[in-house]
């Protein structure tokens, strides 16, 4: 069985029973990505109504700079950056997971009603609950809405099993219903709630606080760990039911578990920032193009790119139209448009 092509240097990370295949050249690209992330983060901290130099930022972070600087950085800008990173990362991973499960590169968390579900719950809360309960409960309402939608979609699509097509169609239908609820509340609800609801609907990291971040991190930590543990199962699920079952995976159980994971991650992110449409659609694409299609590595890249996207969008919102501070969601949508055009051009070439 031996042959000349069998003599290859064995590339593996092995330590006792632990063994992993190193990602190869993808690792280098991932490192570059993370480097880019840090650069943009620092830039985000420098930019704003009052521009600071990187040195001043560093001093403020380590507690050595001027007090006013430290205030701006620690209370205003740093939370935004961290929130953008966490939310964008979560959406990126959730998007990749969904695209793998549905076996289609056009899937995104919004499709399963995550965005619209959270939006409906949030708008209902803002219109009818804001006076009754403390506004701190808004993210909880939003996440409950997202999860409820996700569960409803899965339950309605389940008929002895779930096929990607039925899942997508049910998702679109339920998302439409959630949107209709949102519209209904916007139109019929108390007038003062409308604008704040609408702003929330666009998606933004404005006014991020450390409590928000703590809450999001509390959700994302266990979810992230779960993702790390289940990553190899996701890759198999992406082959399709028959192959996955042939390889010994319990298809329905794994699909339900992974979908819950995706919806929970996206729901948590969206509950803090509002629906940042398209992050979950674009980030996985870019990740796959840059890093390759192996799920494990692509997931890291997707998280990094998702975070990068939201940070850049937020940065643009603060800087490009100064002194106005526009919601990040607008720029994510704009990026989405550019991305779409590019996708169409590629699809054209493919079809030819």
């Amino acid at each position: 069985m031996a042959g000349a092509d069998m003599i290859r240097p064995s590339r593996a990370w092995r330590f006792g029973a632990f063994s992993r295949r190193p990602p190869g050249p993808a690792l280098g690209r991932l490192a570059v990505l993370i480097g880019l992330l840090l650069v943009v983060a620092v830039l985000s901290l420098c930019a704003g109504q009052h521009w600071l130099s990187p040195a001043e930022v560093l001093r403020a972070l380590t507690g050595q700079g001027r007090e006013s600087d430290a205030l701006v950085i620690n209370l205003l800008r740093l939370p935004r950056v961290v929130l953008a990173l966490l939310a964008g990362g979560a959406l990126g991973v959730a998007g990749l997971l969904l695209q793998t499960l549905v076996r289609n590169p056009l899937a995104s968390p919004d499709l399963l009603g995550v965005g619209p579900g959270a939006a409906a719950a949030a708008v209902l809360f803002l219109a009818y609950g804001a006076g009754v309960v403390s506004p701190g409960w808004l993210p909880v309402a939003a996440i409950a809405g997202a999860l409820a939608c996700g569960v409803a979609v899965y339950a309605l699509a389940w008929k002895g099993g779930v096929t990607p097509l039925r899942l997508v169609l049910t998702g679109v239908a339920v998302a439409s219903l959630a949107s209709a609820v949102t519209t209904f509340v916007l139109v019929r609800g108390p007038a003062n709630a409308t604008l704040s609801a609408y702003v929330w609907l666009t998606g933004s990291v404005f006014g991020a606080t450390w409590t928000d971040i703590a809450r999001l991190a509390a959700w994302l930590a266990p979810l992230g760990i779960a993702m790390a543990l289940l990553a190899r199962h996701a890759a198999i699920a992406g082959l399709g039911d028959e192959l996955a079952q042939g390889l010994g995976q319990r298809v329905e159980a794994m699909r339900a578990l992974l979908l819950t994971l995706a919806v929970a991650m996206a729901g948590a992110a969206v509950s803090c920032t509002g629906p940042l449409a398209f992050t979950g659609l674009i980030a996985p694409h870019l990740a796959r193009r840059l890093i390759g299609h192996s799920f494990g590595v692509a997931a890291w890249a997707s998280a990094a790119i998702g975070g990068l996207l939201v940070m850049v969008a937020d940065l643009s919102g603060r800087v490009l139209f100064a002194p106005r501070d526009l919601p990040a969601g607008i720029f994510v949508a704009a990026l989405g448009a550019a991305f779409f055009v590019q996708l169409m051009i590629r699809a054209r070439h493919r079809a030819d």
Partner: protein, 271 residues
Amino acid sequence: MTVTPAPLACQNLHVRYDSVPVLHGLDLTLPPGRITVFVGSNGCGKSTLLKSFARLLAPDQGTVLLNGRDIAQQSSAQVARALSMLPQSATAPEGLTVHDLVRLGRYPHQNWLRQWSREDEAQVDAALHDTGLSALRDRPVDTLSGGQRQRAWIAMTLAQDAPVMLLDEPTTYLDLAHQIEVLDLIDRLNTERGKTVVMVLHDLNLAARYAHHMVALRDGAVVAAGAPAEVMDVTLVKRVFDLDCQIIADPLFGTPLCVPFGKGRRPPASS
């Protein structure tokens, strides 16, 4: 001498597909270490039978036995280590490389800790070598030719290292040269690696050439089962395919060759 149970067998197998009964009480034992081919016309149940053996369909009545035990009682992982299945139209995720695809075949042998052991690496390299794809390991699967792509899928099921290989119409959509290429590969895997192969083929003559054991189905029941030379004759073809023919010996391989004719064009008088 201990009797090792046959790797795959079924007893009184009744299967429905979409609530339509397809298989009616089949009893079959498949020979170990040989190539078995299911043949029959469209809708006779050959794909359904293969899927039932692969545990993709649950029987209405009766049992499928894997290594002598009821397959439904065994865990997914156990079954995956005993048999591998290649469905008819397998599609790889866009952009996945050959190596990445073949690696996925090691799934039933891995856990969270152990994701790239020496055994995994050796099996993947061997699978790539045996299917002649070592040079193409870093190419995306969707850029390969039809025959190469099918070989990549076979490499994946090879890496799974299961003694039984099930293949559902592995040669459909391939042109003739690639069909022969794939079937020769499967034949080699059977001889060199001792794999028990069970496949569905729609081409009767190719089935006769490559099969050690042929199972002919009609309307969900077994019409004949045995070596092609013994089983394939004019009456069988008439019963299974509703077709008149003459059976001759293949001039190259000596296996039965079916030369069909219908009610339209007649052979010339001087034959």
